[in-house]
């Protein structure tokens, strides 16, 4: 029982750490631009596959490749905004459709290049090995992930509240028109927001996937659904909510998987059920403003 | 004649803000009443509460003897209250005719439109608001004045006995205002009770025989325009905001 509780807490925390990184960017983009970016999970997945592809033509220095990949995905996020999202950002349907198309395209592109076979990218692990206590062993990379996630989230919070760009991001998220009247280039702010969001998803992948595996091109959707659950739970656009929501979803998933009979096969339904319940009961989320109509 | 609308102790709170505070008034059948107050006084909220688009925090609204507090908008419309919006709304991809066919298809609208058919009835309304020659075009290309007329046409489609007009004159040129005034007067002559808002007093003064004034969500005065205009509190309310009568 003791081991099960430690197992639940550890894996719940890892889940929370990874979900918070992915959902934070997702929530930011929605909060600032009301852009529901369905390609967010695809950025995560693409990072993983780039880690797989790039060593074949780059010098095999893991940190260098990882850095290049993250930069690459960040740029792709920016390009996606400039080329695809920006012209359509006033129609919510258009954005949803085009980001859906983008996500699907990335998925199929990866499918053509790498098929559905799973791969390992464990050479990108930052810390190898495990830390053992009598009843449980902790994977070091996951421990690192938890701390890295906390640090990144804090730095991000500082960045949003203190930096100039952060302040204009907040201004735009509160009132886009007023912000543009105050001389803020809202489109540029949105561009940076999308790049930050892609960057966070990409960092999440770089930290997490080496200790996991590339589970095929469609794995991005699962993380996207989880981000939805997190963001809907915490409130669209609420950054505190996203982090709290991420850990709630993480622990609930882990709890279901370990303590509920037949739990493992239900665990992946939990986030979707959270989405539906939250949408029906309190669409603005726990921390969200009631701006939803 | 008798009372048609009775509002008692109406209160609406948005979070910490009280938009309408213990507001009460009565309107007789066939009256022509203005609701005045500076910007942000809570006029639109009162309209939203009467027409059901918002639910009051407390208080009662009775229409024609029926308690309509908290009813859904379409049910209130089907009792005979129609409204227009301050910001022009229209079904932008439908033709003007179809824009008016929609209210004619409501439960109350159907009662009168059934005999001649919804489309014929709608085009008669289009004629009465003076847009019949544009029946087939969509509203997106209409000038602002015509959109205001369309709004009233849409309200008329539901065969109302009580009409809520929210700032019908805002953004109109002088000529357009006159045409619209004429239209509203004609409706009043046909027996429709009219309740109208405006934040510029002068416009309403010439139009209505009775005004109700509100400020910061509270009732401050009720009476003929001249009397209300000279009311000290009303003057303060307007002057305090530096708007005046101009």
């Amino acid at each position: 029982m003791e081991a099960e509780i430690i197992n639940f807490l550890f894996n719940g925390t890892v889940n929370g750490a990874i979900f918070s990184l992915i959902a934070l960017g997702y929530s930011l983009v929605y909060g600032v631009g009301h852009i529901m970016n369905l390609a967010h999970g695809a950025f995560f997945m693409l990072t993983g596959y780039m880690l797989l592809w790039f060593p074949s033509f780059l010098p095999e220095i893991p940190w260098l490749i990882a850095t290049i990949v993250v930069i690459f995905v960040t740029i792709i996020g920016g390009l996606a905004y400039i080329i695809l999202i920006k012209p359509l950002q006033d129609t919510s349907v258009g954005v949803v459709l085009i980001t859906f198309g983008l996500a699907f395209f990335i998925q199929e592109y990866v499918f053509v290049l790498s098929g559905t076979t799973p791969y390992s990218v464990k050479e990108f692990k930052i810390i190898d090995g495990v830390t053992k206590i009598p009843s449980f062993s902790f994977i070091n990379q996951f421990i690192f992930l938890i701390f890295a996630s906390l640090i990144i989230v804090s730095v991000f919070a500082l960045f949003i509240s203190k930096s100039k760009l952060g302040k204009s991001i907040r201004a735009v998220s509160q009132d886009r028109e007023a912000a543009s009247l105050m001389g803020i280039n809202t489109n540029r702010v949105l561009l940076y927001t999308l790049m930050i969001s892609a960057f966070l998803a990409s960092i999440a992948a770089v930290l997490y996937l080496p200790a996991a595996a590339l589970n095929g091109p469609s794995m991005g959707w699962g993380y996207l659904t989880n981000s939805f659950a997190v963001v809907i739970l915490g409130g669209m656009g609420s950054l505190v909510g996203s982090v709290v929501g991420a850990y709630i979803v993480g622990y609930v998933t882990s709890f279901t998987s370990i303590f509920i009979p037949n739990g493992p096969s239900w665990a992946h339904l939990v986030p979707i059920i959270i989405i539906v319940i939250m949408l029906l009961i309190r669409p603005q989320g726990i921390f969200g403003k009631k701006e939803l109509r | 004649m008798g009372i048609i609308l009775e509002v008692k102790n109406l209160t609406k709170k948005f979070g910490g803000l009280t938009a309408v505070n213990d507001f009460s008034f009565e309107i007789q059948r066939g009256e022509y009443v203005g609701l005045i107050g500076p910007n942000g006084a809570g006029k639109t909220t009162v309209f939203n509460l009467i027409s059901g688009f918002e639910k009051p925090s407390s208080g009662k609204i009775r229409f024609d003897g029926i308690d309509i507090t908290g009813l859904k908008p379409y049910k209130i419309v089907n009792l005979g209250i129609a409204r227009t919006f301050q910001l022009v709304r229209s079904f932008k991809f439908l033709s003007l005719l179809d824009n008016i066919v929609i209210p004619c298809l409501s439960k109350r609208g159907k009662k009168v439109s059934k005999k001649v058919g919804a489309e014929a009835y709608a085009s008669s309304i289009l004629a009465s608001v003076g847009l019949v020659d544009r029946a087939r075009i969509p509203p997106v290309i209409l000038p602002h004045g015509d959109l205001r007329k369309l709004q009233i046409g849409k309200a008329l489609g539901t065969n109302p006995q009580f009409l809520l007009l929210d700032e019908p004159f805002s953004g109109l040129s002088h000529e357009e205002q006159e045409v619209l005034t004429e239209l509203i007067n004609k409706l009043h002559d046909d027996g429709v009770t009219i309740f109208i808002t405006g934040h510029v007093l002068r416009e309403l003064m010439t139009l209505v025989p009775r005004v109700i004034a509100m400020h910061q969500g509270k009732f401050i005065a009720d009476g003929p325009p001249q009397e209300v205009a000279n009311n000290k509190i009303v003057l303060e309310a307007y002057l305090g905001r530096g708007e005046g009568f101009a």
């Binding site: 098929g115 799973p118 390992s120 994977i139 996991a212 992946h268 339904l269 | -």
Partner: protein
């Protein structure tokens, strides 16, 4: 005047468009006729003298390619040996394939139906082999049955096809399964092997009781009956020694933390042996986390991906000490096995997947059946194939194929259809283990090629 020129112009334009569509359609419909080729068939032979084998599989994915490779290789061997003579006419074998796209996680069943129709009506094949994903095959199998064409399954393990043959023989008699043995039989194989294995390994470790058995399986239909069988029967077979832990059925869209928590869960429950039942993506993650944490149990079960020779690299060597079912490896499973294995690697540069072995055996069997029946008529061939029962098996590279006449399912169990157990050993080599389970196989000699190695961390723990 002007309107007349416009009109003429319009007519010309429409005519051009019309002619364009017409020509396009003509090229489209008429052209493929000439393009059909049957790889494997010797050149200079026309369609009439070629027995065409159609491969239904997912081209571009390992399973579909393996199916094609196996069939192609068989055709090549048959043709090199002079083809087959029917009524004094020599026939050669050709092979063609259609993409059913069934490995795609976004399965489109109509695609498989379309591929089957192309094989039957466009490529005009005489026999078909293939199938991998049960739900896709369930849709397109009907096409072959409607066309009364013999179809040999080489990849799907579910019992359901053979149940159909049994229930409505008249509708499904054209279906035979060559690979793998059905999932119930797989369960049986695991049971007998594991029961022996548990009892034997206990003898090696006097200080530790190896008896807690966990199951880690993907939550899919084909797993259900298998898991149920293991749970019920394994304790009985070990004389009540083995006890079963609650099984873990995971959602196939798993993430790393889930797999880690399942493995930790099994560790916490005190598992000694864990039986994975995995056909999809889970295996690589399982082995990675297992090797990293060095959990105190052995992995011994089904992990389809680990049959691939690329698995060692895919897991970065983490699959070491995993023991799993393997249809064929380089050993004397039958007298043909080693020769086939070496020739296949020489031809294609990689090891044959179980589907390739199945397809090879299937095509070879078709050749023998055609020769026996002296006809290409399914009605005459089916009785020949049904006559290959336990008393008269058909010798293949992957086993002695014998069918149950009423279900057309492979007879499972030594010496007919059975699977080997192979372990990944340090250095990236695979060995067929353990010697205890496979005694000398008569004329073929010993089929085990290595000794079972207990993972060192488990060895330390148990000693």
């Amino acid at each position: 005047m002007e309107s007349l020129t416009k009109r003429i112009l319009a007519i010309v334009l429409i005519a051009v468009i019309g002619v364009g569509i017409g020509v396009g359609a003509w090229i489209f419909l008429a052209a493929p006729e000439a393009a059909i080729k049957y790889p494997g068939a010797p050149s200079g032979f026309d369609k009439d003298n070629t027995i065409v084998i159609g491969c239904a599989g997912d081209t571009g994915e390992i399973q579909g390619d393996a199916n094609y490779e196996g069939a192609y290789f068989a055709c090549k061997h048959i043709n090199e040996a002079g083809g087959v003579v029917i009524n004094a006419i020599t026939y050669y074998f050709g092979v063609t394939k259609e993409d059913t796209d069934e490995s795609n996680p976004n399965l489109v069943p109509s695609r498989g139906v379309d591929a089957a129709r192309r094989l039957i009506y466009d490529k005009e094949v005489d026999f078909a082999v293939g199938g991998f994903r049960s739900e896709a095959l369930l849709a397109y199998i009907e096409e072959f049955m409607d066309a009364e064409m013999i179809f040999i399954g080489t990849g799907a393990a579910t019992d359901i096809f053979c149940e159909k043959v049994n229930e409505t023989y008249a509708d499904y008699k054209w279906f035979f399964r060559f690979m793998p043995i059905n999932s119930t039989a797989l369960g049986g194989q695991i049971l007998y092997t594991l029961a022996d294995f548990i009892l034997n390994i206990n003898a090696d470790y006097p200080n530790h009781d190896v008896k807690e058995i966990g199951i880690l399986a993907e939550d899919l239909t084909w797993v259900t009956s298998l898991v149920g069988a293991i749970k019920d029967v394994l304790p009985l077979l070990t004389g009540g020694w083995a006890t079963m832990l609650p099984e873990i059925l995971y959602d196939i869209s798993l993430s790393a933390t889930d797999m880690n928590s399942h493995l930790a869960d099994l560790q916490a429950d005190g598992a000694d042996i864990v039986i994975p039942v995995i056909s999809a993506q889970g295996g690589i993650l399982m082995m990675q986390q297992y090797a990293l944490n060095e959990y105190d149990y052995l992995i011994f079960g089904i992990d389809v991906q680990s049959q691939l020779d690329t698995y060692w690299d895919d897991t970065g060597g983490d699959c070491v000490y995993e023991t799993m079912m393997q249809t064929l490896y380089r050993c004397n499973k039958t007298s043909k096995s080693v020769a086939f294995w070496d020739a296949f690697i020489a031809q294609f540069g990689h090891e044959p997947l179980y589907i390739a072995c199945g397809a090879y055996d299937a095509v070879s069997a078709i050749r023998d059946a055609v020769e026996d029946a002296q006809s290409l008529d399914p009605d005459l061939i089916i009785p020949v194939m049904e006559s290959w029962d336990r008393s008269n098996p058909h010798l293949g590279v992957a086993g002695n194929a014998a069918w149950w006449p009423n279900t057309h399912d492979l007879v499972a169990g030594y010496p007919f259809g059975y699977t080997l157990w192979a372990q990944w050993q340090p250095g990236g080599t695979k060995a067929v283990v353990p010697a205890l389970i496979y005694p000398d196989v008569g004329a073929y000699g010993n089929i085990t090629t290595g000794d079972y190695v207990v993972a060192p961390w488990v060895h330390t723990e148990w000693s």
